[in-house]
């Protein structure tokens, strides 16, 4: 697998660090990790940087994760970039909503590094 530039979007800096650690434990070769505290910040980050993978929370201030994913279609640097949601919102309705907005994967908090691996590796390989 090629080196990956990842964007991690979560209003908790602790959770962003945990997600990064889980990606490394999952065997993802991270070339660069960019962070944002909400959807609006993430869109701003993507104006100046291209990434290969986005991991995104749903419940965030300013702009939530679902709205962020909806707006990604208009961002050149996000074309074809897979998004995996990582959130406490675990209902089927939320999963369906996230997928319909364009997310390729969905991980419920709390989670393990193994679960991150199960959901992220197929997405990076284009199998999901």
């Amino acid at each position: 697998m090629d080196s990956v530039r990842a964007l991690i979007v979560d209003d908790s800096s602790v959770m962003r660090k945990i997600v990064e650690r889980c990606l490394r434990q999952a065997g993802v070769d991270l070339k660069q990790v960019l962070e944002a505290g909400n959807g609006a910040e993430a869109l701003s980050v993507l104006q100046g940087s291209a990434v290969d993978l986005i991991l995104c929370d749903i419940n965030m201030p300013v702009m939530d994760g679902l709205e962020f994913v909806k707006q990604l279609s208009g961002v050149a640097n996000a074309k074809g970039v897979p998004v995996v949601m990582i959130t406490t919102e675990g209902s089927e309705a939320h999963v369906v909503q996230a997928i319909s907005c364009g997310a390729k994967g969905y991980i419920r908090k709390p989670f393990t590094a193994e679960q991150v691996k199960e959901h992220v590796i197929p997405v990076l390989a284009g199998k999901s």
């Binding site: 908790s12 800096s13 602790v14 959130t87 406490t88 675990g90 709390p110």
Partner: protein, 161 residues
């Protein structure tokens, strides 16, 4: 998974939710911190000066809070991040807020039909013990007293029907 109606006791109390709260908390600590919570043999009313709260709104309205002391919050953070306790700084509040958020989310996801109809607020963290909390809760709160690495950890759910 049981429905919200199934889990209501005949007297309208929510005591049947306590085991679900306990499972929700245990899962968060085992998966995210690699630690098992235990139940204390005796209950001591020690001052717990760090409080994290998450509001619930929708079909279930209320406040779920997690309380511990600063030393416990620091140890939790070090376990979450996989770093030494000596390196933990102000992110301990962020970590406790995220733990509270995950316990609340995991709890509501265990009650059928509640996941869609109950939203969570971002967590709020209070440090100190000299405060009064006035919530709109109109039923007796549910309280779980647990131990994290031998140190007290209280989880309460106050419900506004």
């Amino acid at each position: 998974m049981k429905s919200m109606t199934d889990l209501l006791a005949p007297n309208g109390s929510h005591e049947n939710w306590i085991p679900l709260m306990q499972v929700a908390a245990r899962e968060v600590f085992e998966l995210m911190l690699g630690c098992k919570l235990t139940v204390p043999e005796t209950v001591n009313d020690t001052a717990l000066e760090v409080t994290s709260m998450v509001g619930l709104a929708g079909q279930l309205c209320g406040v779920l809070s997690v309380r511990c002391d600063e030393k416990t919050a620091t140890l939790m953070t070090s376990k979450m991040l996989g770093v030494s306790v000596d390196t933990v700084g102000p992110e301990a509040q962020d970590a406790l807020g995220e733990i509270c958020n995950m316990v609340a989310g995991n709890f509501k996801n265990k009650i059928a039909g509640l996941g869609d109809g109950c939203m969570l607020s971002p967590p709020t963290v209070i440090t100190g013990t000299d405060y009064d909390l006035h919530s709109l809760a109109d039923s007796p709160g549910l309280e779980l007293r647990l131990l994290f690495e031998g140190m007290p950890l209280n989880i309460t759910l106050q419900i506004h029907s």
